[in-house]
Symmetry: C2
Subunit: 192 residues, 2 copies
Amino acid sequence: MADVHENGYLDEALFDPSVLNQLDMSQFKAEYKNVTTPLTPEHNLQIRPLHLEDYDKGYLDLLKQLTTVGDVTREEFVDRFQKMKACPDTYYIVVIEDLKSGQIIGSATLVKEQKFIHHLSSRGRVEDVIVSDLYRGKELGKLLVDILVCLSQQLNCYKVSLECKDDNLKFYCQFGFERTPGQNFMQQRFYD
Amino acid sequence: MADVHENGYLDEALFDPSVLNQLDMSQFKAEYKNVTTPLTPEHNLQIRPLHLEDYDKGYLDLLKQLTTVGDVTREEFVDRFQKMKACPDTYYIVVIEDLKSGQIIGSATLVKEQKFIHHLSSRGRVEDVIVSDLYRGKELGKLLVDILVCLSQQLNCYKVSLECKDDNLKFYCQFGFERTPGQNFMQQRFYD
C-alpha cells in the first residue's frame, strides 16, 4: 500500500493529485465523454497524475506510440520517476487510465521552469502529448491539453508554450496557442 | 563565508562549478578574450555558476537589459535561488563576472528536462542569454552559448533547443542549431 505523506498525497503519485481538482474546467474546449468525475463515477476513464505503478499499466508502451522509448527496467523507471519527483513543482505528468482494462491510454506532460525574469515568474511547457490509437475520437487529447493549459495558469506561469508539427497547428490554436511572427524554434540533436 | 558541502561545492553556487571545468572547449566557436582561466589568471572576466551574492553584483540589472524583471527583494531572490537549487540537475545558470568592477556582465541559462522517452533521456533548453551592452564585441555571448551546448551534451541530453528572433538565426546556426522544417513553436501569454 502506498503511504500518505503529511502533505496529503500518495507516495506513488508524481505530484499532488489535488491540483487537478482545483482546475477551472468551465474554460475547457473538450467535451467529457466517459471520464470519471465525482458526478459521473460510472464512467471508466480516470484522469490523474502519473503513478509509480503505471510501469505495469502500459505507460511506456503508450509512449512508444509517440517516439522511441527503448527497453526500460522497472528499476530504471522508478529511478527516473523519483528523480523527477525530487524536483518540487516541476514535473506534472497527467495520465488517463482505462479503469476497465487497467491500462494507461493517454498522457501529457507540463514542465514548469522557474525564472528570475518577469518578477520571479515561471513558464510552462506542454510536452509529449499522446492518446492511444485505440481511443482516438473521444476528445481525450483535447482534454489533456485543456488540463495542462489550465494547470499552467493555476501554477502562476506567465506563459505556456509547445512545439508542434504543421498538422497539429490548428489543433493547438483552439486552446489559445499562437505562432509569434519572427520567433523561431531551433534545435540540435546529439543522438536519437 | 560560504560553507563547503560534502559534495565539494559552495553553498552559494547554484550548481557544482566543477562541471564547467570538465567541458571540452576544443569545439568552442568563440575566441577567448580577457577570460580568466588557470592559464590566464591575469584576465578579469570570470565564468562561473550563478551565486547567491550576485544579487549584490547587478545580476538582476543585467536581466533588465533582456526583459522585464520588476522589483525583487533580496529575500525573494534568495527564495527563488533556493527553489531552483532544490531541483537537482535542472538549473544551470552560467554568469560572467568582471572581477575589476565586481559586476555580473553576462548570463545564460541551461534548463535540463528529464524524460521517459529516448531511454530515459533528457533535453536541454538554452534560455535568457544576455551580455551587458557595455561588453559587446568580445564574443562573450558566443562563449556562453558554446558553454551551454557543450554542457548539455556533457549532461547527456539527447538534444538542446532554444527560441530566437529572426535577427539571431545566423548567430545560433554557427553552434549547430537548425530550424526543423514543419516544426512550429507556439505559445500563449497569461501576463507580461
